[in-house]
């Protein structure tokens, strides 16, 4: 080894040591601060050590739940909005922020992402069939009874890694909240609503078991069931049948154990059964027109409380989607043309899809569909708003665009009583900007998550690449026409 390398090594070691020591010191300091102030414990790890009493005064406020307040005040205490209005009273303990020239929006909600879950760096291979992660051994399933690609018991809240660097980059882009979902397989797991503050995982969880994801994946292997799309559909159908059989059988057996053969224990049946009982929202893939029709048909056949995700061809089926009354998660990672490909290989059908996909939200608004946006594999969160802007250019009203990232996802996910708009009593999740949210030049200045303040600095990097495709996300190839 050369001498310069040795020095680098020593330097790295020293810096590492200093960091470790300072982290050890930070925690006791924060705790000491809390003890002195008598505030509640949830100030958490490092930056957000200040007391959670703020008032943003004299700002333009966009509540979403009501008309814009051109000049008003938002008051927060202990993570809750305590007052909103042109003349809201500011209590003495609040730190006052001058809102002149600033606009306050509700914190944005990303309605489908893997941010916060470990394994982000192990991107799943692009393409339609995504099996279990690379490390898993190949298991051959000989039929539905082997429960292939099935892990519904994985709950995002239980796997949350608050240290995931993507959390900060999402927050810097204005997203205070997300529906975090496990990825991989036919039943990847249950999604949780997470607030992107820097705290202990438990304090970040808004609701742990909100959605049950389904993706009609194949084993990727001719020898293992299911090897076809129709096989995956048949499998999920059998799972719902088995689950309902088990729920009934368990009830009968529990009441009369003598004389009856016991129903076998199947973890999938138990977990899916609990999800049905708790009225979790079942997510069905809707990656193209065929899948949209299929989602509508299966939700009806299986009598489940379901939403569809993807929906980039929704512009073509906005009436049918409205008639189904199913909520929709629209993937704003619009399909992109491969500019290096041979133009002769591109079909008119593909071109129409690429051209029309961003018009889907406007079409859905017109027919009264309840829909929300999700990032769908976008790795740089600043691109999320850029892509929403494309939908606005294609005819979506900015008001509806904002709703699709605030009150709509809150409504669909059952937390609209406490999130999704700036109203007294709701969670203090806010985004403060120096202009209109959908203007390219606008900068996000401050983000509040659960009433904790995060100043956004301009030189902040967009965050490391991550955000691999998950069940609700498109591959880079986009939708197959």
């Amino acid at each position: 080894m050369k001498q310069s390398s040795c020095i680098h090594l020593l330097a790295a070691f020293a810096i590492g040591a200093i960091c470790a020591i300072s982290m050890l010191c930070a925690t006791p300091a924060a705790l000491a601060q809390q003890d002195q102030s008598g505030l509640s414990v949830s100030a958490g790890l490092s930056k957000a050590g200040e007391p959670r009493f703020f008032a943003i005064k004299g700002a333009r406020i966009v509540p979403v739940s009501g008309p814009v307040i051109e000049k008003g005040t938002v008051v927060m205490a202990n993570g809750i909005i305590t007052a909103v209005g042109p003349d809201a009273q500011i209590p003495p303990e609040a730190a006052v922020i001058d809102g002149t020239g600033l606009t306050v929006y509700p914190g944005l909600i990303d309605a489908g992402t893997t941010v916060g879950l470990p394994g982000g760096e192990n991107a799943a291979p692009a393409g339609r069939a995504r099996g279990p992660r690379a490390a898993a051994p190949v298991e051959i399933a000989n039929g539905p009874q082997d429960r292939p690609l099935t892990t519904p018991w994985i709950v995002a809240a239980n796997e949350l890694n608050p240290e995931d660097p993507r959390i900060e980059s999402w927050r810097d882009a204005g997203f205070t909240t997300a529906l975090v979902e496990p990825e991989g397989g036919i039943f990847p797991g249950q999604g949780s609503i997470v607030d992107f503050g820097e705290e202990r995982a438990g304090n970040m969880i808004v609701a742990p078991r909100v959605t049950l994801g389904i993706d009609f994946q194949t084993s990727g292997n001719f020898a293992s069931f299911p090897s076809s799309l129709m096989g995956a559909v048949a499998y999920v159908r059998q799972v719902f049948i088995d689950t309902r059989w088990y729920q009934n059988a368990e009830d009968v057996y529990k009441a009369h154990q003598s004389g009856l053969e016991r129903p076998p224990y199947d973890r999938t049946e138990v977990v899916v059964g609990d999800a049905l009982k708790n009225n979790e929202l079942i997510l069905l893939p809707a990656g193209d027109k065929l899948a949209i029709y299929r989602a509508i048909r299966l939700a009806n056949e299986w009598q489940i409380h379901a939403a569809m995700y993807g929906a980039q061809e929704g512009y073509a089926l906005s009436s049918e989607i409205a008639a189904s009354k199913m909520p929709v998660f629209v993937n704003v990672n619009w399909p992109k043309i491969d500019k290096n490909g041979d133009p002769d290989d591109i079909t008119l059908r593909e071109l129409r899809l690429w051209d029309h996909a961003p018009s889907t939200p406007a079409a859905l608004s017109k027919t009264g569909v309840m829909y929300a946006f999700y990032s769908g594999g976008i790795t740089n969160p600043k691109d999320i708003l850029k892509n929403v802007k494309k939908a606005i250019d294609a005819g979506l009203s900015p008001d509806d665009a904002l709703k699709a990232m605030t009150i709509n996802p809150a409504t669909i996910l059952g937390v609209a009583d406490r999130m999704g708009s700036i109203e007294q009593g709701k969670v203090a999740n806010l985004v403060v900007t120096d202009g209109d949210l959908f203007n390219e030049k606008t900068k996000i200045k401050t983000v509040f998550v659960d009433g904790m303040r995060y100043e956004i600095h301009e030189d902040a990097s967009p965050g490391p690449p991550g955000g691999h495709p998950m069940p609700m996300q498109q591959s880079d190839e986009g939708v197959q026409p």
């Binding site: 001719f222 799309l229 009968v252 029709y293 299929r294 049918e320 133009p343 008119l348």
Partner: protein, 488 residues
């Protein structure tokens, strides 16, 4: 018209005029269920011979009248088919088009739980190509990877309609069986991924599946009986999606379409069917059917075969193009199918081959692709011939359909034109323009791209047309067209 007296005459005239006054509005309001008159064609009815200078009246998607002297009601759309030939639309008894994803669930020996109906794709370009070949109905089958494959469905080739509009209303569902080399993975190379590996294994798989199905049937019958008797605290049997279609077969509610080649396996399945108490509806391919035609007739089994494919694998070695004719002469109801989206575009010619190979008459030949497959699929009450009351599923050719020169001009399903050759040609320029504009917009960001040299590669992936217009031979929008080969 005969009138008793002039007063009645006047009243009737008023009634007729009143009806006519209403009719045009009705015809205009509903595009599909209006009135159409196809006139002055050679009408090939299949069941009642040919009618020279004949006409067919269509109303509300059904054939309302057939004859030589039909007047078009006011407001009716009139198709002048002078010099043309009108025939029932072709029924393809073995196809794999219109399927989203893999057509095989080959991972397990018995994949009866999967259903083609879950993955129908009405946007498959092959549907459009086959309409251009005169096909109106397809028996969409699971592949031949398993002894017992997935559930199958009969569709009308309604290109672009919602998936739920494709299934043929009222047609019994089917299930695909397969025997022989494909099932045993004989020709795939590499290790066999799954049982069975032998012919005896294939037979055992089917016997075992039906044994389990019968037990399943009994378990449910027992449970229902006990429940009906008022017994409490019963746990029902589990519903098993794999066995339920087999129970339907036992109950005669689902047709078996069995891919088969050599005579011993055809006989084997008939024996198993006899033992286990079910029927085989059609043997598909059945290339040695000519050897066991009498047994097929005795078992009530139909045959759906190729016109002249043989010797492409061992089990096709003794296939002969006389198969269809020989089976027909022994009394089997025979259809000729495609099993291939290209072959399906000229099934009229495939039917004609049995005139050369086996001396079938012209009508017997055309029956192979019209009424016979309709009978096999249990839909002959609705389609397969031109008769009053049947569905208006028709095709117009510019020459006798048995002629090599015949080219489809229009294909009609439920009274609506789903393929119109003249219209297709007329729209090509507009579609090419749209494509180029979108390409410019998406790739070149608004600047027109330098045009590449005309590419003769006619691989058709675009929505309706080949990507590069074959402007070399502009088609005149006449119903007569000699250039078949140029347009791909």
């Amino acid at each position: 018209m005969n009138f008793e007296n002039s007063k009645m005459h006047a009243l009737r005239l008023i009634a007729v005029l009143a009806a006519l006054a209403i009719l045009p509005l009705a015809a205009r309001a509903q595009d599909d269920s209006g009135v159409t008159l196809i006139k002055n064609a050679t009408v090939i009815t299949i069941t009642h011979g040919r009618i020279e200078h004949g006409s067919v009246l269509i109303r509300d998607g059904k054939i309302a009248d057939v004859g030589t002297d039909i007047q078009a009601p006011a407001g009716a759309k009139v198709i002048d088919a002078s010099g043309m030939y009108l025939m029932p639309g072709i029924v393809d008894c073995h196809t794999h088009i219109a399927v989203d994803g893999d057509v095989n669930e080959g991972s397990v020996s018995v994949s009866s739980m999967v259903n083609i109906k879950d993955v129908l794709n009405p946007y498959d370009i092959n549907i459009y190509h086959e309409l251009a070949g005169g096909v109106v109905i397809g028996n969409v089958l699971h592949g031949s990877a398993n002894p017992i494959g997935g559930q199958t469905i009969v569709i009308k080739l309604k290109y672009g309609a919602p998936p739920d509009d494709l299934p043929f209303p009222g047609a019994l569902p089917g299930i695909k069986f397969a025997l022989g080399e494909n099932v045993k993975h004989s020709n795939f190379g590499g290790p066999i991924p799954r049982y069975p590996e032998t012919r005896m294994g294939v037979e055992e798989t089917i016997r075992d599946a039906f044994t389990r199905a019968k037990q399943y049937q009994k378990d449910w019958a027992d449970y229902n009986q006990r429940k009906a008797a008022g017994e409490q605290n019963l746990i029902p049997p589990r519903r098993d999606l794999q066995l339920e279609p087999l129970v339907e077969v036992l109950e005669g509610k689902r047709y078996i379409h069995c891919h088969s080649y050599v005579s011993d396996e055809i006989l084997m399945l008939m024996r198993v069917a006899h033992d286990m108490g079910f029927k085989v509806r059609t043997f598909q391919h059945v290339l040695e059917g000519y050897k066991v035609a009498d047994e097929m007739v005795a078992a009530g089994a139909y045959g759906s075969t190729f016109s002249d494919w043989w010797a492409y694998k061992m089990e096709a070695y003794e296939a002969i193009p006389y198969n269809a004719a020989l089976m027909t002469r022994r009394g089997v109801i025979v259809s000729v199918n495609s099993d291939d989206p290209e072959e399906a575009r000229h099934l009229n010619q495939e039917a004609a081959k049995s005139m050369h190979y086996g001396d079938l008459t012209e009508n017997e030949a055309l029956r192979l692709v019209t009424l016979n497959p309709a009978i096999q699929l249990g839909i002959d009450n609705h389609v397969g011939s031109i008769e009053v009351g049947k569905d208006a599923d028709l095709v117009i050719y510019n020459h006798d359909p048995l002629s090599v020169y015949a080219v489809v001009q229009k294909t009609i399903i439920d009274g609506r034109v789903y393929f119109d050759r003249a219209q297709d040609i007329a729209e090509r320029a507009e579609l090419a323009k749209e494509r180029q504009e979108l390409l410019d917009k998406e790739i070149n960001e608004g600047k027109p791209a330098p045009r590449a040299d005309d590419n003769e590669n006619g691989a058709t992936k675009s929505a309706k047309k080949p990507k590069k217009s074959h402007q070399a031979t502009p088609e005149t929008p006449q119903l007569d067209n000699a250039e078949i080969g140029g347009a791909r």
